[in-house]
């Protein structure tokens, strides 16, 4: 029998607006994680993700993006993981894949696909060898995630 993949770990659909959602004590038995975001903020502002409450300048990304008229690439190292380009719009769909999240011998690699006012693909590196046990998603600045926004975390079998 084939091994099941995309095993549901947790899902939260916001019953009221919120500025932050956290998945804690994440099961360490999978190979990869996939986090699916479906929703919007009140301002259209985006969000950042943080592993194990690390708010240091340890998240580097390279990004390719396009908004229908302008295409580009950029990169930066920031205090929080970036998963999008442009602003969030009608139920933006963002898929974040976190590879080898449970190992302790490598920095963690993330591939993010964003469906916002721009389409974007990002490769993110978290410069830390710790196993990821917690993931926090914070809306940027003073924005809040709106009611109905859904955050789903899946485990991918190894």
């Amino acid at each position: 029998m084939a091994t099941e993949t995309y095993t549901p770990i947790a899902t939260t659909t916001l019953a009221s607006s919120a500025s932050s959602v956290t998945f804690s004590s994440i099961d360490q038995s999978y190979g990869d994680l996939v986090l699916v975001f479906d929703g919007i903020t009140d301002t259209g502002g985006s969000f950042r993700f943080y592993f194990n409450s690390d708010t240091g300048t340890n998240y580097s990304y390279v990004r390719a993006f396009g908004n229908g008229s302008t295409a580009g690439t950029d990169s930066a190292t920031e205090s929080g993981g970036r998963a999008t380009a442009g602003t969030l719009s009608n139920n933006s769909n963002v898929i974040i894949q976190i590879m080898d999240y449970a190992v302790t011998d490598k920095h963690k690699s993330v591939i993010a696909r964003a469906n916002t006012t721009s389409v974007a693909m990002l490769a993110v590196r978290w410069a830390d060898t710790s196993a990821i046990t917690d993931i926090e998603l914070d809306a940027d600045s003073s924005a809040v995630f709106q009611t109905g926004t859904t955050f789903s975390l899946f485990g991918i079998a190894k």
């Binding site: 549901p8 699916v36 696909r113 389409v119 899946f154």
Partner: protein, 165 residues
């Protein structure tokens, strides 16, 4: 992730449709390998949800050999090879549709690759109806080639388990 249905063409066909999609999953994922009969080099995949092609917009980022372009379309979501492309190549990719049975507009993402390029697309169907059927067709050509194949998977999310603040 659970396989709902796979369709492989035994002969060329103008479209591939998944009907009566179960409403019991949270998200859908479609994995495709397609080629069209368009005489030029390359074609696009077009979608219809619930039999409708209205209300779609898509922002794409395409890499054709060494050129990267971005464009907004109403009916194009992935690049695939066609009759004028390298022989025996098919365009492989996947489309992820989140919250397909909900009552909000439907956002979906497509990644695709074939021998002469690749794409990522951010797409929106401005319709609050639950998606019960999905039709794939070539955007320019008339038919998909024999051996074109699409698999539809259902993904069930968990419940609870996150802290909201």
């Amino acid at each position: 992730m659970e396989l709902i249905e796979t369709v492989e063409l035994a002969s060329s066909a103008s479209s591939i449709t998944f009907s009566s999609i179960p409403q019991t999953y949270t998200d859908l994922c479609l994995v495709f390998s397609l080629r069209s009969d368009r005489s030029g080099n390359g074609d696009y995949v077009a979608f219809a949800f619930n039999g409708s092609t209205a209300g779609f917009t898509s922002v794409g980022l395409y890499n054709f050999s060494t050129t990267i372009v971005t464009q907004t379309d109403l009916d194009r979501y992935a690049t695939i090879p066609s009759a004028g492309s390298v022989s025996n190549t098919f365009g492989n990719g996947q489309t992820y549709i989140s919250n397909y049975s909900g009552n909000t507009n439907k956002s979906f993402s497509t990644d695709g690759v074939f021998g002469d390029g690749g794409n990522i697309n951010a797409s929106l169907w401005s319709n609050t109806a639950a998606i019960t059927s999905i039709e794939f067709s070539p955007a320019i050509g008339s038919t998909f080639n024999q051996y074109s194949i699409i698999s539809l998977y259902g993904i069930t999310a968990g419940s609870g388990g996150a802290t909201v603040s």
